[in-house]
Amino acid sequence: MATIFIDNAPRQANPKQNLLHACLSLGYDLPYFCWHPALGSVGACRQCAVKQFRNERDTTGKLVMACMTPVAEGTRISIADPEATVFRATVIQGLMQNHPHDCPVCDEGGECHLQDMTVMTGHRSRVYSLGKRTFRNQYLGPLVNHEMNRCIQCQRCVRFYREYAGGRDLNAFHLRDSIYYGRHEDGVLESEFSGNLVEICPTGVFTDATLKRHYTRKWDLQMAPSICVHCGLGCNTTAGERYGSLRRILNRYNREVNGYFLCDRGRFGYEFAESSRRIRYPLLNNEAATKSEALERFGAVLREGTVIGIGSPRASLEANFALRTLVGSDRFFAGIPDKDLHLLSIMLRILRDGPARSASLDEAEHSDAVLVLGEDVTNVAPVMALRLRQSVRQAPMRIADGLHIPEWLDHAVREVVQDAKGPLFIASPYATKLDDIATTTYRAAPDDLARLGFAVAHSIDATTPEVAGLSSELETMIAEISAALLGAKRPLIVSGTSCRSPRVIEAAAQIAWALRKAGRPANLSFTTPECNSFGLALMEPQPLSEAFRSIQGESVSTLIVLENDLFRRAPASEMTALLSGVQHLVVLDHLVNATTEASELVLPAGTFAESNGTLVNSEGRAQRFFQVLDPSTDVQESQRWLREGSVAAGFNNQAQWQTLDDLITAMAAEITAFGALPMVAPSRSAAGKIAREPNRYSGRTAMFANISVHEPKPPDDPDSALAFSMESGPEAAPSSLTPFFWAPGWNSIQAVNKFQSEVGGPLRTGDPGVRLIEPSQESGWQYFTAIPPQFKAQPGEWLLVPIFHIFGSEELSRHAQGIAQLLPHPYVALNPVEASLLGAKAGEQIKVAVEGALFELEVALRADLPRGVAGLPTGLPPLDGVMLPAFCKLAPTGAELSARGAS
């Protein structure tokens, strides 16, 4: 640390930072626009000017831009200097010249960085009286709204979109005071991260188009800390509510997980909770029922004969545990195919028994050599892709270092680094969006991807089994990959369940372990398909096939399905037959689906917004989300339904669970892996009262005056220190319970500065979440020895691999109103060479026979698919029950093709 003097006060600052960063970290209010902790400095807006003095005798000083000036021992600056103060107010005056001053009708109003900075500089009255430039706005799709007249030309949008996130279809056009930030023509923004423009834009140019449809000011939102449920990464979010409906999702900074950015599925997927398919009251034989009728029936069917339960990888630990307790651990089954449970178990075993640890996303970003094995990261775990995109900047940073260009001097770094990129190798069944920054790509069938992985491991450690029969080209690639991984300081291997291949996962582990053995601190990042996949697997449920067996064998009278559409877990024909063997089917879920439609009793289960619970992400980090919606409706969290049902049945195994903390304590006591769960967030009694509503929350006494003029008592929250009210205790909320980022003078999302131990660093009370999985210290692990044979294309048969779509492959977000407009149509992807052998052309229909089902699908040509491999968009109805990869047969629509294959 260096001692610097700010307005003559000695302060400690990090010499690796610039003065703006240091001043903000030290708590000074120094206004800025173009700088962002994740984007660095470019010196464009000139807003952070301070006076710098050569030494203590220098009384004249000169204006410098704090963001462009490094911290150095003895640096003397003044923020309060009159000349600097006037300059900063004048910059705001300039920025405001063309600004429409339309705050009252602007969606950003009340959480606008431009408003905050304007007030901060003291620029109050308008002198400029001449014309303003105006623009035509663009249609940018259903997620992001465009209002260019408000633009202050800070450049942040294009810097984030292009330079940081790798997007190409947003750019800066024209010049002078009329730079236009937009697309070359109207159209949906192509980046999976476009929603971050809403937060990165300091004013209302880019705003949340989904919020606009049901708009509420930030100050009128009731908010709670939440966790994204749309993939396995567990990005931290802030959910906002008003009038009983969910209004929007904002990023909730967690340095270790999502940092400053979310993907569009995570930001806009929340609308599923307001979808027309939403189940808002109990259904008894498809008729609306009251809560007491529902519980009465639930209690009755629970008492009747054998009861089994099927859990869910998208339900919380608490909900799954409540079901497990209700039916007993031997009758608690995984809500996923055996194969998927097996994959999760392998990954958990690898991360617990092997020497390589799972990387946090922050660690993934700071890796300096990465191998992706079998994953389409952008579509499966989008924010990981955004992080990996930064990882290729790690290795070339030494070029800048050599010229003493500090890392934060963003454009200078980019100019000297140019196209140099650190090693990133992508081996996947088809081309992915990260390929544009990859050193080398390799496209092959899952077995061949595993073989590549095992061969890389062998090349790093010759004691691992050798892979025979590799081409010389592949040998060269393998040598290149292993050399880069061995040469790295922080190598990372990324893999996961996307290929549904145990061998691919084992091969990834093999490489990491070989690197560990060679003394390199290699980490592993696995993707998991759903938000609580690891949580479910850690509960060690019985395999789903066993549930099927018991239904077919003995007479199961009642099956309880927890937050799970079983028709996505097996082909529809099998599932229908199976469910007909159950006397009573009870389903707890959020949206109407094939499973709820088949059930006798449907209980409206709270989504993440109506529930409290814990999810274990793909890093193995347990994180808690908290209820944001008023609980006084029929919708309640699954664990409450299950507990109330068991009480109604007269069981007493859950009766004592009055609160969330009771349940968590019980879970921690019963399952060893969950021993640390009570530490994920402070218990209700351990934290002071925390308001979900901001100080300026309006209409508290008037919102429901049309129903009753008596102000209702705020609903009680037995589960957490968070209150459905504006009243807070005197203490600051701990990071895991922070319902929103807001600080005096900092109304926008950038108020997060005030919640971090240093700007861009960990949150003050630590980044939320507790890692449940750590590698064992024992050295008893063994290399894997099962190497699959080379994939051979069979004539007349294709291996259908799953193709992932950020919008479409995930079950819930598909029903969000905005995202629903962006879903792909079902298709089958073929290599053009093979398509021509079949006589199939792009856009034409073709018959696909797979796993006993027959589909007619549109042909999409993808030259990147390996020979003998075809692709199917996974998770997309009507294909969502097809368990991929699987071999298929194809035939033109005119030809005969039965579900069993060509005749």
């Binding site: 464009a44 300039g94 010249q97 001449l130 002078r176």
Partner: protein, 424 residues
Amino acid sequence: MEKPLTGNFRADKEAVSLAEYERAGGYQGLRTALHMAPADVTELVKKSNLRGRGGAGFPTGMKWSFVPMGKDAPHPKYLVANADEMEPGTFKDRALMERDPHQLIEGMIVSAYAIDADIGYIFLRGEYERSYERLARAIAEAEARNYLGHNILGSGYSLILHLHMSAGRYICGEETALLNALEGKRAHPRTKPPFPQVSGLWGKPTIVQNVETLCNVHHIVNKGPEWFHGLSKTEDGGTKIYGVSGKVKRPGLWELPMGTPMREILEDHAGGMREGLRFRGVLPGGASTDFLVEEHLDTPMDYGNVQKAGSRLGTGTMVVLDDQTCPVGMVWNLEHFFAQESCGWCTPCWSGLAWTEKILFAMEQGKGSTRDLDTLAFQTKFLAPGNTFCAFAPGAVEPLQSALKYFADDFRRHIDEQRCPWRQ
């Protein structure tokens, strides 16, 4: 008087051919240089005190000495001729390129040799089509003679020279914006430091030099720094191509000793004001320099003396204001140009110039107010060096700040009479 830069110009304004150029001693400087160590060439240029002719006047040899040399130096290194001559009132580089293209090419090869550059670019103003044709031909000729290309004249030194025509915009004349444009990026200036000498084109060491500067280099190598000093009337070495535009009798360009007094250029060479017009002021070095007036006419036109008088030598091409032209209108015209050409990167520039331009326009329309004068004066301070990202805006307000001083009465009349007194 010796005129190394323009001495070979043909009276018919055609380009000096390669044969003519060689006959007049062309490419001798290159041959001499190739027998010297690169560092010795730089040393000669340093001794000559050749200062940049593009406007800033930075010592050329010193600039070159920042380029990393030797075995470990990054390659390719680049030499870029800044031929984006877009300063209003400036047309000296155009003459050099159209009429003696080989002179620039030879100057570039010698300069490139001095910094061990591998690739050269001529970044040419988009409208200079004739220069483009003549340079393209001259480059082809030079390549054919092995003055350019691989293993130049058997020396072991190689240089590839590209001619690049700009897509337009004044800011491309700013050396780092030029580099961005050359890389196909938006032409906004780059952060300095790092300077282009260290991290320039495509992140590699790069020297960007004005055309006129480069044209001097091989002459210095040929004839020595003492000769170069002897050309000048002041401590800044060499000759200077001075230009005069405006309502003088004979607008044009003249190569004269550095430090020739302004009066001599205006009266002896440009022939003084046209009949019936009186001199009111002059922008001595192009549109982005401060006005000088009658009292400054005896100022020697070199870097130091013009600065002492309160302006800058700039490009040395003068724009003359007469008494029948409205100074407010002229300044509006200039600020309109600069406001249009602001790259939009930094707030003071894009906001300040737009505001300034609009006020001046309103004044010309008879809608000025006293408060506007305060705003104008304030903006000239706001757009001071250091406050903005690059030197563009500080230069842009130089004619305004001096006009407010020297032509205060004219501004006052616009406001008091609510009209432009020069308009009928």
